[in-house]
Structure formats: C-alpha cells, structure tokens
Amino acid sequence: MESLNTGDSRPDLEARRMELRGTIRLASEVIAQYWPMRTFVHHNPLHSLEYLPFAETVRRGRQYVGGSGYLPGEMYRRYLKSGRILVRHIDDAVAPLAREHDVSLGPCRISHREVLRACLTHELCVSAEEPLDRLMDFDPNEEQVESLAERLISFSFPTVKEQMATMIREDLAALGRHTTLSSWCDRTLGTQIVQQINDELIKWCEAFLDEGHATWSMPKRDEGLYAAWKRLAEKEWATCGIAESRRKIASLPDHPEDAVLDCLEALAIPVEFRQDYLALQLAALPGWAGFIKWRAEEHGYPWQQAHPVGLVKFLAVRLWYVRELVGKACREELGIQGNYRAVSTYMEQHPNAYFMRKERAAARLPAVYAERVDRLHARTRDSREEASALSHEWEQLTTRYQMEYGPRHEQAARRTIARRLLMLAQALEIVPTVFMESSSAQLKVLADWIDGFPESAHGPVWLKALEAGYQDQLFDMLLRAPAPPQSAAPEDQPPVRPHSQSVFCIDVRSEPFRRHLESTGANDTYGFAGFFAVFIRYRAWGKEHETEQFPVIMRAKNEVREIPRSYLDHYLSKHQSRAKLIHAGHTLLHDLKENVVTPYVMVESLGWFYGLPIVGKTIVPDWYKRMTGWIREFFVPPIATSVTVDKLSPAETEEMVGSEHRAVIWKALRDRFGLRGSRIDPEFVEALRRRSLDEDAPVEPFLSQAAKRADLTPEQLTAFVHELREDHRINRRAAARQKEKITRTGFTLEEQVITVETALRMMGLVRNFARLVFFCAHGSTTENNPFESALDCGACGGNEGKPNARVIAAMANRPPVREGLARRGIELPSDTHFLAGQVDTTTDDVQLFDLEDVPPTHRKDVSRLLEDLREAAQLTSRERCTRFPEIKTALSPSQALACVRKRSADWSQVRPEWGLSGNTTFFIGRRDLTKGLNLAGRVFLHSYDHREDPTDRLLEVVLTGPQVVAQWINMEHYFSAVDNEVYGGGSKIYHNVVGRLGIMSGPWSDLRLGLARQTVMNDDMPYHEPMRLLTLVEASRARIEKLIARHEILQHFYHNEWVRLAALDPEDGTWYCYMPWGVWQRVRTFQDE
C-alpha cells in the first residue's frame, strides 16, 4: 500500500498529522472517558457535549450512539396514571409548544393545546404499523375505524416513487455525516460489517488493554496498539475473509496517523465530513473508545506508560477494517468501489435497486417481494451483469410493488389516522359521530397536528412535567419547614451546645442517617464532600498501591501513609510474616489455577475444598462472612495504625532514605556473599552506602578494611558497589527521587491549618463546637460486585473515605493547628475533640477510628455517640428496607439490620443497596432549612452558611466543585435509567469482568458504560426517577448571578438546562427559580396558585 510519505514533504506531512489529531480530539467529544471500574466514577456519558443545550446533546447522543435521552412515553404515562405527574404539569410543560388555533367540529371546538395534551396522555402518536393483510377475526370495534378511514379517502399519501426519492435525498445527505459506509452496506446489503469490525476491535482491545487479568498477555504491547496489532494481525490466517490480508497489513504505514489518512483517502470521505465520520467510528464502541480516551489522557498511569494507546491508533486499526470490508462488500454485491463517491453515485443512478434492497434489508417488504429482491440481487452478484443492465428489471419490480401494495399501504395509513382520530375523540370525551360527520379538511388539520407532535418529540415535555411534579412536592415541604431564613448577621445569642457535631458526606445516602441521628438526641449534623477538603494520595499499611482520595476533577500533591503505631514494634514482624504467609498461599493457589498443567491435578486434589466457600456463601452468607473474618483475624490480627499527617524534616527524610538503603545493603550482602548478622558491621554497611551514593569520592580506608574482615576481595567489593548502584538503585539520582517523594508525604503546618479551616468554614461550623466533632466517611461492603467502587465515596475517587476522615481529625486535634485556626478566627474550645469514623452504607454499621487518641475525659461522650449512632443505624436500615422491592412487610430495627447485613454478604445479591439511585437535588445551605424533613435519601446536603462567606469564595467552590460531582452522579443515573442498554450497564446477570478494567455483557461486547439495570430499575419501572439535578442554594440572587457570570461551567449548567437552579434569597426569604434565559422567577407552589 502506498504510504502518504511518498508524495508529501515532511513539514506538510507533520501538519496533516497534527490536523488529524485535532480532528480526532474534536470527534471524541461524543464519547465520554471511561474510568477503570476499581475507581468507578459517576459521570455524564455525554459530558463532553455539555456546552450544548440538554435537548441538543440528547439528539446528538441518538445520532452517534443511538441512545434515547428520555424514558419511553409508556413509562411517563404510567407516572401520569399513578399520580406522580399531574395533568397541570403536562399543561404547563406543553404550553410553549401550543399554538392559539382551534378546529370546530359540530358543537365542539378542539384547540391545538388539547390535541397536544391528548397526544401525550393517550398514545395517539405511538406509530403502531397497520398490517397490510391481516387475517384476524373481524372486531366490531374496528367498524368505526373502517368507516372513518373511508372518510379520509381524499387524504394523499406518498407513492413508492415519492418515498424512494425522499429516502435517497435523505440518505445522500446523511452519508458520511450520520451514516458510515459500513452501516450503509449493512442497511442496504444486509451485511454485518459493523458487527464484524466491532468484534475484531473488541478482540484486540480486550487483549491489548488487559491490566493483569489475562494469564497470557498479548505480546508486543510495549509498541503500542497499532504496532502490536500490525505485528500480530499480519500473522492471522484470514482476517475477516479479506483477501491478501497479510500483505495488506504488512504494507500499512508505520505511523497510525498516516494509516488513518490513507484510509480516509481510500474511502473518499470529504474533508468537511471527517470529524463526524470519525466520531461515528468512535461511537460504534463507546466503551472501549472511552477507556482509551481516558487512558491516553492519563500520562502517569503505569499501564499507559507500559503499553501506550490512543484514539488515533484505535482509529487506524478500525478504519483499515472499514476500508477493506466495505470495499469487499461493494465490489462483490454491487460491482462498485467501496468509497463515498461510488456509493453516492450508486444511490443517484440506481434508485430503484437501492430502494428495494434497503427495504429488503430492513425487513419492510412482504415475504414474496423479499424473495424477488433476493433473486434479482443474486443475479447482480453472480452473473456479474452490469447494474445498469438490470436497472430496468429493478424499475419493473418497484412499479409492480407500487401497483400491488401501494393501495394496501394507503389503506393501512388511512386506518392508522382514523384510529388516532378516534382515540383523540375518546381522550377529549367527544362522541365519535362528531368526527364521522366532520369534513375531511377539518380532520386533516387534526391529523396534521397529531403528526406534527410525534412520540419522539414528547420526551422533553414529559421530562419537564416529571420534574415539575417533584419540584412542587419539594418546595411544599421546604416552605412548610419550621426554620425561618436568617438575617445576614450571625446571631448574637449563643445557642445551646450540642452533644456532638457529626460531619457526613454530601452523598444522598447520608440524608436518612443524619435525620435519624438528629432524632436520637442533641446531635447536630453537617454535610460536606466526603474527602473533607483533604486532597491526598493514600497508601494503606501492607498495600503496594496508592489510592487517590479526592474527586477526579482535582489533583493532589500530598501523600499520606498508614503506619503501625510505634508501640507495636515487637509485634510487627510477627504480623508481617503471617500476612506474607497468607499472601504466599493466595499466590500459590492462583498460580496453580492459572497454570497450563496444574489445574488438572488441582481440581482432583483441592477442588473439594472450594465446595466449603460455595456452600457457605450460598446458604449462610452472613455467618460465613463472620466466620472467615474471625479466622482471618485469628491468623493475622489487625494492628493499630496511625496516619502520617505531618511532613518530615530534612533530617528525618535523610534518615528514612538511609534506613531503606541500609536494609537493602544488608539483604544484598546476605544474598550475595552469605554473610550473617554478626559478620555484618553496621559501619561497613554505612560505608558501602556512602560509596554507592558518591562514586567520585575515593574509597575510604575503613571500607577496604571492613571488606577484608568480611573476606571480600577488592574486586568483589568494586563489583558489589556497582551492583548496588545499578541493580538496587542506591545512587545519588535515585536517592534524590526518594527524598522528593518522601517530602510529598504529609502536610506542613500551614497546609493543615488551611485544610481544617476550609472544611469548617465551608460548612459553616465555626462556633459553638460540641465536645465531640465526628468526621464520618463512608464505604460499602458487597460480595461478587464488580461495581463495588460505585457504592463507595465518589468524592474520594471511588474509594472509601476513611483515610480522609482520619487525616482531618488528626489535623484538627493538633494544638499547633488549633493555634493557627484561632489566629484565623476559629476558636476551638480545648475540650473539643475531633473523631474519625466511617459508616458502611450497605450494612449501616459505623466504625470509629483512632479511639486510643481520645482523651479519657471524653469517654462518656464517645460512648453516648456510639449509642446514638447504633440507634440511627437501625432506624436507617429499617427505612432502607422499605425501599427494597422484595421486602413487603415492615421490619423491626434488629430485623432490618440483620437483613441489610445479609444482603451485604450475599454473593448472589444483585442489589445489595440502592446506592445513589433516586438522587434529585443538591442543597447548599444551613441544615436548619431541611432539618426534620424526610427527604427520602434523594438530596445531596451540603452545609453552607452564607453569613460566613462575605466574599462568595466558599459558595464559588461549592458550585464549581461538589455541584459538578453531584451533576455527574445525577447524569450517570439519569442516562442509565432512560436507556440502560446504551448508556447503562445492562443487566448484572450477564456481566463479566474484562481485563480488570471494566465489564462486558456476556463474553464479547463493548465495555458497558454506566450503571447496571438493577441499580436504577425496579422491575420494568425506574427506581431512579430520571430528572435533571435541581440545585437549591441559600444565598442572594445577585451573588449567585455574579458567580454564574464568572464561570462558564455554571453557564453551561443553567443556561443549557443541565441543572435547574433555585435560590432562597435571604433578603426576602423567598424561593426563586433561575430561568435558562438568565432571569429569576418566584417559585409558585400549587397552594399559591
């Protein structure tokens, strides 16, 4: 194959490559990044298009990935039937579309608005096809339909020729922009090229992107996707039946950009269509392409560094298949070239053949005509007759089809209209005879109104009605709430000191827990993003990898490690050796399972052993879990740890690096020369270290002597030092890197003060501190659940928030930090102690950490808090159990607790908890406004006191940080609920983990994008009512407007209708809604009206 290199000069080529990369970047807007499942991040699957209005983005989503942006009309009608949507909501939502027209039929006047409403409520626009020659019993109810259809005889319908002309006009316009050549072939010739290409790409992506799941990994991955594919695919015997595939692949250009450009040239895609065309190619596999998009942007990601991949490479592979398979299909089936020009010409010059083939492929022809088309098509294919020679026969076939079926189609269309008109009569409670006696012109107007409002246009109206229904209910509650809005000045009167103040994540699951905790006594609660303003990378004790404990839209510069408490030195080695033993056992079993030979023996010898876990997990999951936990703790008892909050001084850093070096040298001496403890002099080790770090310095005499004492010759010594430098990385550069890394650990005092202050100020907790302030993170415990990180804390990057809670509590308890806070105006009483804990959202169990740091004076307070937390957990479990569909009766608190624990341990449970399903609203304001209200776990509650934020800086942070995260969560749930097959993850029943990075349905599919069906659906109705996020802010309108003007993201949210905003203006204590066109409207509830 001729490469682009031949004809182009070097700078031109580079410019073209650069231009192509830009085009691909723009094309990739239609797909969202796909985070690996171990850090599942809720996000909007159409996130990159948020700069467009919501409705337009939904339209593009349909165009590119084929997803629906709204629930089916049938589901909205069920909401209407159940009273969740009221007719007045529909009337309000439909008002902007209604024209001031009406039609008089006898004594009745029917307005356009009434017709539109009937279309929504009575399925008038459901386009049920009338069968052409139905043979069922004659239904008496059909008599009216038939007689009204007779009256519509004057209506005209497009003939086959007219339909053909329209189809060709539309298809010509869509080719390249909305339709790829491969889809064109599939739709016209009945081929399955898109599926074939997808299957190939899935095969290659699955193998290439694997992150340690595969026992045998794909070779040549270090060369990148395109090069690795080339190296392996050119060895395939027959790639998709493409002739000479080996030669063709071998002759592909080395640069993926060149390969893409070659293919686009060969496919003759016009330059102005290329972005759309490439977008369509990416959207064919949005999961894999989305993961590649994410990985390509994560330059520091170890797997990306090892096996580089990017969308250009992905497209280079994909487009090669497209070019070859489209070329093959067009040549063999139509005798034309497989490119844009040839295909366009074919549609223009052979309209009859094209029309009939397409109708055949779409299964729209009667069986007898399908057979005739097949026969004629076979003649084109087999006899190699010129397409033009058969044109006449295609035309004859079309004419015959029109003659034979044209009248039947017209009759069917008349019946459809008649049926709709009669349904309209029924919806408007008009007797059908009125319609029978009306003129066809009047009926035509009504029919046109119905046609003009097809089911596909109903979604936005239904959505507004659904949102209005919820909004009414919520504002009614808020207006009934007892707490009056406060004035701009803080209260002078000191309030009563609460027993405790607990800070929970803004996660909607915290709302019921907070409500119940408040109900147990004088416990105040606050809401704050679950990372508590602590941006850290965290490495747990005994773990090799760090977790990123902050929202994915942020970055962290501090690291925190979990280390054993200092008094455990003597116990530590025992713990470590046991943990190693367990780890080695696991590794051994894993290797035995994955080896080529050993499984045969292992099944026989150890297979029965696996029966115990199977039986235990299946029959007594809760008991089994407790038992295995107990055994684990028996063998490897947990150890008390602390977190490294403070930064190390330079001397300490130096000492830490030195210790690590010394340990390595000591081990190397033992391994290399068999020296034992007594023969290794610490000074000798230190001298070796110094020598390794400074190769320019002369050899110390002491080192030579010590080496001699250890029976090492000078040559051995030199070789050993070289080994230490090269193999064990004990050299100056590596030491500098280590030191730099260590200095990232912990926080400076200033950083600690700022962190604590930010957290406290943002949630308005700056005075009246209780004796206990409890930072409560959250996590979850589930079995056999690849989506487990989706249940953890989104603000902590899909991890549990325990480290963040421990770090902030540790910071806030430090006297120097308190002094710093005092200087900044936050006086923490000396008897206030900060405590860290974590609630398990699956079991509602609460765990407290670092209790040994609690002063003895606070034991009673902790004990009381624990009691209250336990009670709150039981009440929360009981409330949650009422939402599980299979639990029909009310459970007692203890039963409820047992029930949720069982769900947590049950490996067959597809719905251990509802997670964030049901979320609707993001509330930014004082808890007083919502206290006591049952918000049903649907509201993100972020504490904010506008009086503590004179500069709006805190509100700005909340609106541009936590609100964005909430909107991502909301949109993830929204799209997963409205079209679970496209935007969601499908049913969990078919899920398979692939490459330790994502989920496939069955053994072979695209990576599933969003949430599983069981997470958002309750049977066939959504549990998560799909509505856009409603943000409620307690702040003045002017201040909010200022922030909107300052931030583009906020403009996108509110003006493009991604988020609805309402504000409680402290000036007049009134709720206002922010309109997409930038004005505020007073919230009117049903009672007002």
């Binding site: 459901v126 386009s127 139905r134 043979l135």
Partner: protein, 438 residues
Amino acid sequence: MQAWMTPWLLIAICSIGAAFAFLMRSSLSRMKTVALSTTVTSLLAVIASSALNESLPGMPFLWLLPLAAFLSLLGQPVHQENRIAWLMTLVLLGIGLGILTAQEPVRQVLLVALLGALGALLYRHHVSRHQSSMMPDVWRGLGAFLVGMVSAVLTLVLPFPGSAVATLVACATLLPLFPLHGGFIAVLTGLPGNLPAFLILLLPALGFHTLVLVLPNLTATMLRTAMLLALTGACYASLRALIQSQPLPRLGYAGLSFLSLLWWYVADTGAAPQSAAVYLSAVSLSMSGLLLAWYSIRARYGDIDLRAVGGLAYPMPRFSTLLALLGLAALGMPPFGVFSGFIGLLLNPAFSPSGSFIIVMIIWLSASWYVMDLVQELVFGPQRSDMRYEDLRRTEFVSLLTLILLLLILGIAPSPFFQPDGLMPPVTAATKSVTWNP
C-alpha cells in the same frame, strides 16, 4: 357394515360437510363451525368403522387425519380469506380417508383426484394472489403433481415391475422424496390458511400408506436407489432449510429433510415398523404445529418478513412458550414423539448402523440449528415499538396445546394408538416381527 362401504361413507361425510359449509359461506363463523363439526363427525365415523370392522386399513392415520384437520381448523381466525382453505380441508380430508380405506383401483383414482385437486388449488391460489408472474417453486410443484398423477394412472395399466416403479414415484410425490418433492414444498409454502398445516400430515401419511403397500414388490435396486435419493434429498433439504430466510420454506425443507430420513430407513431396512409410523406422525404433527404457530403470526401481521418480528417472549408469552416446545419437539428432543419414533427405528432389529448414519446425524444436528434459530428469531431479540402485540387467542392456544399433548403422547405412550396386533403381516423378509400394517 361392509368394508367396501367405509371409504365411501367417509368421503360422503366430508363431501356433505364441505357442501354444507359452502352453503354457509355468507356466515363465516357458521361455516367454520360446520367445518369443525364435519371433522369431528368423520373422526366418529372412523371410530365407529374401526369398531365394526376389525381389519380396517389405514390406522392410526385414519383417526389422526380428522384430528389434525380439526386442530388446524380450530385455531383459524374467522376471516373470509380462509373460506377456500376450510372447504378444501374437508374435501382433501375426505379423499385422504378414502385413499387410506379404499382398495385398488379406487385408491389410485382417488390418488389422482387428490393430486389433481392440489395442483388446481395451487395454480388458482397463486394466480389469484400474484397475477403477474408464476414463482418457480409453483411450477416445480405443479410438475411434481403432474408426474404423480401420471404415475398413479400408470400403476393401473402397467405390469410389474413397471407398476411398482410407478407406485413408488406416485408415493414419492406424497411422502416427499428428492427430486419429486416439489409438490410437497409448493403446497406448504403456497397454499392459504390452515391447509399447509393439514397437508403436512395428509400427504406423507398417504405416501407412507402407499409405500408400505408397494414395499413387498420393490426390488433391491429400487430400494437402493430410493435410499440414495433419500440421503441426497435429506442433505439437500437440510442445506436449503439452512439458507432459507422465511419460515414457510424453512419448515417445508425441514419436513422434507426429516421425512427423507424415513425414506432412507425404509429403503435401507426394507421394513416399515410401528415406530416408523410414530416417527412420521410426530414429525408431521410437530411441523404442523410450527406452521400453525407461524400462521398465527401471519394472521396478525400479514405476509411479513420473519426478521420484522421478534422479541415475542415478553408480549406474547403463551405463543412463545408453545413455539419453543414445538421447536424442541420438531428437532427430536425427548419426551416428544419425534425422539421416541426415531429411537424406536434405531433400536429395531432390522436396522444395523452403517456409514450413512453419520450423514443422518449431521442432518439432525443441522436441524437443531435452523429450527431453534427460527424459534430464537421470533421469541428473543428487541421488541418493536411500532407493532401491536396480541398473544394467542383461546382457540389458537387450545389448538397448539393439543398438538403438543399429542406429540407428548406419541413420545411417552404411542402403543395404544399404534397397536401392532391385528394389523397386516410383515412385508419383507428382513423384518417379520414388528412392522407397520396399513
């Protein structure tokens, strides 16, 4: 009652019924009731005749045919397009019962009449529906029926072995044998209403009946030729069934494939044991069920492409369940009749496995693919939002359910209906113990 009277009585009942139904044509529901009553009456007449005449030939097809006619009529919607199918069902039932019970030469005359009626019906129906051009399958079908008619006439006039060959050819047009299967395929794919579902039992039953009669007269060469044609036909039919995109031809070729196996067995062993009749009945009834099931779709949505429907499991659960069961029965899963019939054939002492058995197994495996593919296409997949789904009505449900029960009975306890005792003696030296008796 005299034995010679039986065929005339049965023909008369059906003819009178058909005439009466014709008079009732202005009221479709009455017409259907008359047609159903006629089938019931003919069944009662068969039972009465068999009680009076112990050596009544043609059992158990004598009772199976009226039953199949009844079941195929029962599920039919009351629609004027079905009138001709109802009338012809009665006429063909009468002729069929006559052929089973009559002696020569009346049998051959009735055979000619049957083939002539089918040819005429095929021609008329095709011309009325597709005025313009005749489909090749129809031409082939008419040709096959013409050959069958000529052969039936030649049977009467030619001496042995010419008459035996002529009879064999005639019965090859009924119990389809490659390359004379055209008529069988044409009627299954081209006739209206319930006729395909009825004829898929009637034609093979009559063909088998005729074959058994002529079997003692067939030479080894004839049997070998028939066996080769049967294996070729089975392979050909399997391939054709695999590539069909529409259900009717797929089922037609599937029927041909399965019935070719019966030809192969009879030609290979030179015997027609009781299990051969079980096998034939079960294959025909299961195919009949599938044809009726497809007809219920066709009645709702017109003559549409198979790919235009799908995802019926949820909106049409009764239909989907029965279709899946019929599919399983058709491809020979236990406990249905096809399985037990085929196993019965294999366990018969007359059968000794040979190399050709591998071909039979491949044919069977391919059947499991295309039959289940048909079921899968209809039952699974996405639903269409623009289609109004309506599950089986009561009569359709009863009709299909009864067929499944019959298949179950044939699979579990065929003996009461396929009594070997009292039937005619064995026909070849190869199998003298348990053979089919016409």
